[in-house]
Structure formats: structure tokens, C-alpha cells
Point group: C2
Chain length 80, copies 2
């Protein structure tokens, strides 16, 4: 069971780091999760799930969130 | 129908740009699609689908591919 947990941990680590990064940028923009979701044309609960690393976000949605935060993709992943 | 197509085009554009970027890095590393898939622990046909923009890749798999290509995430998205 330990190995499975290990594999899951290493997978979800990137989701956690990405979620924290989105939260940082969102707060810098003084946006609520709902405002960011609306601007990105995503469901209003989606941003919360991303920030809590509950969703394995897809590339199309990564770009939508980056556009809504007005940053480019390499900025989001800088030193991630 | 035109608007739907437009929305789909703009969505799939990032998939196309990402697929082309992965193909460039893979060829720089003189790897076949199957070799990259194996190193990234992904199905052997998966890399071909990514390169042809047929898959909306998830963040966990983006990291697997980046690790297998031995580049960091911001390099993959640099000017994408």
C-alpha cells in the first residue's frame, strides 16, 4: 500500500504546487475564486478545487486560468 | 456552428502548440515516441496523440513528459 501512496503523493505534489501558485497570483490580483472562475469561463467551484489540488487540471484549462490571470504559461510554471 | 468551431479552434490551438513543442524536444533527444512514452511511464500511443493534439493532456502527465525529456515545466511553456 505504501508504494501506491508514494506514487500518488509524487503525482499530487505537482497539483499542490500548481494550486498554491494559482492562489498566489489570484490574491495578487485581488480576485475571489468566483471572479477568477467567471473570467476564465470555468465553473465557479473549479478554482477552489484546483487550489486545493483536488483536480488534475488539463492544458486547455491551464491556459484559460493563465489568460484570466493575465500571465503567460511559462510564468505560471516558473521554478514550479 | 461557426462559433462552436471557433471556440474549439482556440482551445485546440494550445494543444497543437504543445504537441509541436514536445515533438521538437523529443527529436532533439533522438527518442522515438515509444521510447519517450516508456520513460514517462505512459501508454506507448499516448505521445503520438499528444503530438497530434488529439489529447487534452493533464498536469500530472505534462510533468511526466517533462521529466522524461529532462527539462523543467517552464522550459516546455517558454513562449508557447
Amino acid at each position: 500500500m505504501y508504494i501506491l501512496q508514494l506514487a500518488m503523493d509524487s503525482n499530487s505534489d505537482i497539483l499542490k504546487r500548481f494550486g498554491d501558485r494559482i492562489r498566489d497570483y489570484r490574491k495578487k490580483n485581488n480576485m475571489s475564486q468566483e471572479e477568477l472562475a467567471e473570467k476564465a469561463r470555468l465553473h465557479r467551484t473549479y478554482i477552489g478545487m484546483i487550489e486545493r489540488a483536488e483536480k488534475n487540471i488539463t492544458l486547455i484549462n491551464i491556459e484559460k486560468v493563465a489568460n484570466a490571470l493575465e500571465i503567460n504559461l511559462s510564468e505560471i510554471f516558473n521554478d514550479l
